[in-house]
């Protein structure tokens, strides 16, 4: 290169170009926080290209110098501002209309597996309690058994990270269960599968135990409001976990690292459903389920309707376009 800077010492080079670099740094810092007027955007673009050329020059002529390090940092931060993804309403809309449902439907196997494991667990738990009421002592948490014995309703969660442990145990909450069933996908899916079967067993056992003691209707009426959403969220979180597991176990033609990153993006879409669904379920559980103002029928319609809406959005027919 025979630019104006060629042949000069590093200090002379820095002296000549430093005002432009500092201007670029200032513009970059401001562009990171707010919108720039058009003239300054054009200036930023011009300065960025000049500084990029300066970095190439510094790397060849002054390798290892502080000037080179400074320019590398400057270019990297300007690059982060210039190529930043745009946080626009349109992008969000696209995410909601297309990306998230597409991510869910790309992995029917994972969703099917999650559902099958949960149902199997529930059937097993229910069957065990039905065949041998003594099994309830093992499968149904003590506070629930006490409540059922006194024929009163309890207000615990449906899901548990550690079935068999008392409801007061630390890990007892829906968000933790959902996030764990996602994260445990990294155990090649074994942890996720275990969590699903155990939660299914807990659920089945509790329902069967309550039914045997004549409280089946009451329990169903209580969970009708929030249960469908909670279980849907668990299934989607587990699906995300299995997507991770599949990338780990069988990365296909990609290197494992790349496959895992692609799966990570897919599962982020799914997690974006799980968290709001759980928040909504928690609000329903607290505000609607225990109150006497809503009839059991209304609660069932509300809960099932919300879950059906969720699944229709994720799996239903696509709107045109896209």
């Amino acid at each position: 290169m025979s630019g104006p800077a060629a042949g000069r010492s590093v200090a002379a080079f820095v002296r000549a170009r430093r005002p432009a670099w500092e201007r670029l740094g200032a513009l970059t810092a401001r562009a990171g926080g707010s919108r720039l007027p058009l003239a300054e955007v054009e200036e930023l673009d011009r300065l960025y290209r000049r500084a990029a050329a300066d970095l190439a020059h510094a790397r060849r002529r002054f390798p290892g110098s502080d000037a080179e390090g400074y320019l590398a940092e400057l270019i990297a931060s300007a690059y982060r501002v210039l190529y930043r993804p745009r946080p626009r309403g349109a992008a969000l809309l696209h995410l909601l209309r297309a990306s998230i449902p597409a991510a869910c439907r790309r992995h029917p196997g994972a969703l099917g597996l999650a559902t099958a494991l949960l149902v199997t667990g529930a059937a097993g738990g229910a069957l065990a309690v039905a065949l041998d009421p003594g099994a309830a002592e093992l499968l149904v948490p003590l506070p629930v058994r006490e409540a059922v014995a006194e024929h009163r309703m309890w207000t615990g969660h449906l899901l548990s990270a550690a079935p068999g442990v008392s409801g007061a145990a630390l890990l007892h909450n829906n968000v933790t269960v959902a996030v764990l069933s996602f994260g445990l996908g990294l155990t090649a899916g074994l942890g996720t599968a275990l969590l699903l079967v155990l939660n299914g067993a807990l659920l089945g056992a509790v329902l069967a135990h309550a039914a045997i003691h004549g409280m089946g209707g009451a329990v169903l009426a209580f969970v009708a409001g929030h249960g469908p959403l909670e279980l849907s969220a668990l299934l989607i979180a587990a699906q995300a976990g299995f997507v991770l597991a599949a990338a780990l176990v069988d990365p296909g033609e990609w290197p494992r690292r790349t496959a895992l990153q692609v799966a990570g993006r897919e599962s982020a879409m799914l997690l974006a459903v799980v968290v709001p669904a759980l928040v909504l379920a928690a609000l329903l559980e607290a505000g609607v389920s225990p109150s006497g103002t809503f009839s059991p029928q209304a609660r069932a319609v509300l809960g099932l309707g919300l879950a059906a809406t969720l699944w229709a959005w994720l799996l239903g027919p696509r709107p045109s376009g896209g």
Partner: protein, 251 residues
């Protein structure tokens, strides 16, 4: 730049950039700072709140939905803190800012909400194990990634600070050694100049005896290369300043 592992990427303008990856120390430091900030934020909020009312009683008086929201916000605050800062502030949390590190995508680009969500969601797996898997992964993996980074496709890089003022050299130093004018280029390569600038910047921190010894030896070696007589012992530093200034003058 030190010799640790680096992230190399190319901008669309075909400029290759290399950034140093952050190690366990800086990341643990940033994590501790963030934990402290979250803790202080809660304490402040509680203190402010307790001025106006009795928190426990008021939470109990909340509707059940309100209590659930309050509990959820406590639960999600730690996660949300990291996600929100990283997504909105160029991959930095306040702790990371103070530790001079930031999260970037593995192609060097800025992290978005997706990456921030994923890499922090996987903390749920590492936290119950006292972060041991994360610490091991960062220490041992070639790209210094913990599970969350691996899945999200992110890296944590060091934000090095470079000071260009080292290139501001007063030409007055040259007045006492005018013979150096025009000879500095022969004595100093571009890299040699950087090392000389390192010495000139760091000398106030050196032990006086060592400082004088290094100055004399440097001055003697460089004077020989520039084909001028070596300076007197007391003038070694002035000679070095003049040499750097002569080099900085260029041609």
């Amino acid at each position: 730049m030190a010799g640790g592992p680096v992230l190399e990427f190319e901008t669309p303008e075909r400029v290759a950039v290399a950034l140093e990856l952050a190690g366990v120390g800086a990341r643990a430091y940033a994590w501790l700072l963030d934990a402290l900030f979250i803790f202080l934020a809660w304490v402040t909020a509680l203190l402010l709140y307790s001025i106006s009312g009795d928190l426990v009683r008021e939470v109990q008086a909340l509707s059940i939905a309100g209590q659930v929201l309050a509990a959820l916000s406590v639960l999600l605050a730690g996660w949300g803190w990291d996600v929100a800062w990283e997504a909105l502030w160029g991959g930095r949390t306040p702790g990371k800012r103070l530790a001079s590190i930031r999260v970037v995508r593995s192609d060097g680009g800025p992290v978005g909400l997706t990456e921030a969500l994923v890499r922090n969601a996987l903390r749920a797996v590492e936290l119950p194990l006292a972060y041991a898997p994360a610490i091991l992964a960062v220490a041992l993996s070639a790209r210094r990634q913990r599970l969350g980074d691996l899945v999200a496709g992110t890296l944590v890089v060091r934000q090095a600070r470079f000071d260009l003022s080292r290139y501001d050299l007063p030409a007055t130093a040259l007045a006492r050694f005018p013979q150096l004018r025009g000879r500095a280029a022969a004595a100093l390569s571009a890299e040699g100049f950087e090392r000389l600038a390192d010495f000139l910047r760091r000398r106030p921190a050196l032990e006086p005896g060592a400082r004088a010894r290094v100055a004399v030896r440097l001055a003697a070696a460089l004077a020989a290369r520039a084909s001028v007589a070596p300076p007197a012992a007391g003038e070694a530093e002035g000679f070095l300043e003049a040499l750097a200034a002569a080099h900085a003058e260029g041609r």
